[in-house]
């Protein structure tokens, strides 16, 4: 069998002649085929949302958690291989806890993101491990305000105003760019997140929306949005989408 990377794609410690690390690219593909996940920084906080496609009717609703607290002021949502994501979250929680013990204060957003990034990068250096098939979106709110960082499977870290990963990322990013985020509150962003995820989602299959945020309303504590509030936002979002569809006709 021959594909694009034949011969140079068996190990993450091998470069191809044109300078690519194929294993890292394949890890990215695992993320790209998962449900859409997005994050946005607003005027008063950060919102993270995940589209969770229904795998089986036997699965309990609201299980298969994708958003996790890392500390009171920080949290993350993961896209890609869920088990790999869990390992990254465990590490992030340990980093945050150790930082507080050692330095006496909450871990700043960019420091947490860099620690997670160098952890993920570690698995891109040695032939005897494989990279994480996960993109991690980290939300923090500290003295420098709300921040959103993303770490991809290669261990690259960037700070964002808003971003999306997964199946519907292109369409989602287009919609996010239209929003005036620095003038929106988290509640307004919740509605937008619900709307975008419903728009980019493949209409045939059912999915569950999981949202978490850190905002002035939560006293800057990372909190999962209640099922009722999510349902409310989804209803409003679906109504808005229908209204737009009718306008288009």
């Amino acid at each position: 069998m021959s594909g694009i990377g034949t011969g140079y794609d068996l190990s993450v410690s091998t470069f191809s002649p044109d300078g690519r690390v194929f294993q890292a690219e394949y890890a990215q593909k695992a993320v790209d085929s998962s449900g859409t996940v997005l994050g946005m920084c607003c005027a008063d906080g950060v919102v993270l949302a995940a589209e969770k496609p229904e795998i089986s009717k036997l699965i309990e609703e609201h299980s298969n958690r994708r958003a996790f607290p890392i500390d009171r002021h920080a949290g993350a949502v993961i896209a890609g291989v869920a088990a790999d994501g869990r390992a990254i979250i465990d590490r992030a929680q340990a980093e945050a806890s150790n930082y507080k013990s050692f330095y006496g204060d909450k871990i700043p957003g960019h420091v947490l993101a860099e620690r997670v990034a160098s952890f993920v990068h570690l698995f891109n250096l040695y032939w005897y491990v494989r990279p994480f098939g996960v993109c991690t979106l980290l939300a923090t709110c500290d003295h420098s305000g709300p921040q959103l960082h993303m770490v991809d499977p290669s261990g690259t870290m960037h700070e964002y105003n808003a971003t999306a990963v997964g199946k519907g990322r292109q369409a989602a990013k287009n919609e996010l760019e239209k929003l005036k985020l620095d003038r929106m509150t988290c509640k307004e962003a919740l509605f937008s997140a619900a709307k975008i995820l419903h728009q980019v989602h493949d209409e045939e299959k059912a999915f569950e929306l999981e949202v978490a945020w850190i905002s002035a309303d939560t006293d800057y504590v990372f909190t999962r949005v209640s099922n009722e509030e999510v349902a409310e936002a989804e209803q409003a979002a679906k109504a808005a989408i229908e209204a737009e569809d009718m306008d288009d006709d």
Partner: protein, 235 residues
């Protein structure tokens, strides 16, 4: 290491302690900072103060000691107890803060310096004799003072006093202290208090050193020994 004294009798053997002046000064005793140290917050920063005497038994090994050591540009520590212990703890914390600054991308907080110092003091409490006062200015919390007494407790306070001389000025500092002083009043408060302690504590003396830390940086001041008496409170 034995001390050879030219015109007196035999020198001391290893481990031998003598109270007899025939052998000259006993330099085997540990070097200690029998001391007066203090730090106080004011509107916009902190003032740290200390005497300048380092004693080896009853011999003053250094009469112009600098007991206020820089940990970073705007974080200093007052040292009391064993000179060796406090110097080396300070070196460790200065190094940790330096490394931490690189990851943080900005100046570290006073709380961070105090936490690092406390960890060393507490986890090595069996071996160390160190009474420390960490004080400085940072963007997040302005001027702050943290006391780390012998066992390794960490406590944030508006002002702190330490060292053997501090026992004599507990009442004085309690009655002179006011919240929200300006820089000059605060420095005067520190200098006066240290001067009073020096006048009563045999292990404190020399000159009064102060360091004033604000948003703009740290400034050292010095009152020479012959002017210390002028600082004493007169009614």
């Amino acid at each position: 290491m034995n001390t050879q004294h030219q015109y007196m009798g035999r020198s001391l053997q290893a481990g031998e302690v003598s109270r007899c002046s025939d052998h000259g000064p006993n330099l085997q005793q540990p070097v200690s900072l029998g001391t007066t140290i203090m730090a106080a917050t004011f509107e916009g920063g902190v003032v740290l103060g200390a005497d300048s005497r380092t004693s080896t038994g009853s011999y003053v090994a250094n009469r112009v000691t600098n007991k206020i050591t820089a940990l970073s540009d705007r974080i200093y520590v007052c040292r009391s107890g064993s000179a060796a212990d406090t110097q080396n703890i300070s070196r460790y914390v200065e190094w940790f803060l330096d490394q931490h600054r690189m990851e943080l991308g900005e100046e570290p907080d006073v709380l961070t310096a105090a936490t690092l110092m406390q960890r060393l003091a507490y986890e090595n409490k069996g071996m160390l004799q160190a009474g420390l006062i960490v004080a400085g200015w940072d963007e997040k919390r302005g001027g702050s003072v943290y006391a780390i007494p012998l066992g390794g407790t960490l406590v944030q306070v508006p002002f702190a006093i330490g060292g053997s001389g501090s026992a004599y000025i507990t009442g004085l500092t309690d009655s002179l202290w006011r919240d929200g002083m300006d820089e000059d009043s605060c420095r005067g408060f520190v200098q006066k208090s240290v001067a009073h302690a020096m006048s009563r504590d045999a292990s404190s003396g020399g000159c009064v050193r102060t360091v004033t830390i604000t948003k703009t940086g740290a400034k050292r001041d010095f009152i020479p020994g012959d002017e210390v008496d002028k600082l004493l409170l007169k009614y």
